[in-house]
Symmetry: C2
Subunit: 90 residues, 2 copies
């Protein structure tokens, strides 16, 4: 599973490109963000990537979860956003 780590300083356009590219290759992608600024950038990037993929006929959904991660020996709570194909029967 590909994991894209997003920070508060990440550029949304660059992250969106990475999300769309990884999704095209693997059919899903996971995004990790720690802190409000990072979560906000991640969501904005997903919205942009969703637009790119929709143009190709690919509908995506997000499944959010929380994971504990070790950052420099410190436990941090990270938000994981799993980008998956929408299964909505049209």
């Amino acid at each position: 599973m590909s994991l894209i780590k997003v920070s508060a300083q990440s550029r949304t356009a660059a992250v969106a490109g990475a999300i769309a590219g990884t999704y095209r290759d693997h059919g899903r992608v996971e995004i990790q963000a720690i802190g409000a600024g990072a979560v906000n950038q991640a969501i904005k990037a997903v919205v942009i990537a969703k637009g790119y993929l929709a143009e190709e006929g690919k509908a995506i959904v997000l499944v959010p979860s929380v994971v504990e991660v070790d950052i420099d020996g410190e436990d941090r709570t990270a938000i994981r956003l799993s980008v998956e194909p929408a299964r909505n029967a049209a």
Copy 2:
């Protein structure tokens, strides 16, 4: 469509309860958040609500989008999170 507005000061447990309750009643719910702190609270609340609903056998996914809203005469960009049933065939 029910719309739950989340702020950076919203308590995640209270928002999670509102999300789960509205979802139970309507089968879907929309959440609106403006700003990084609000988006972060919204996502954390969705993760908690997802746990509540999973215990009842209800799997949910998120569909994020961006909308322009008028707040006190000022245009603001809001994140909308649509909580919908997962259609993943088990």
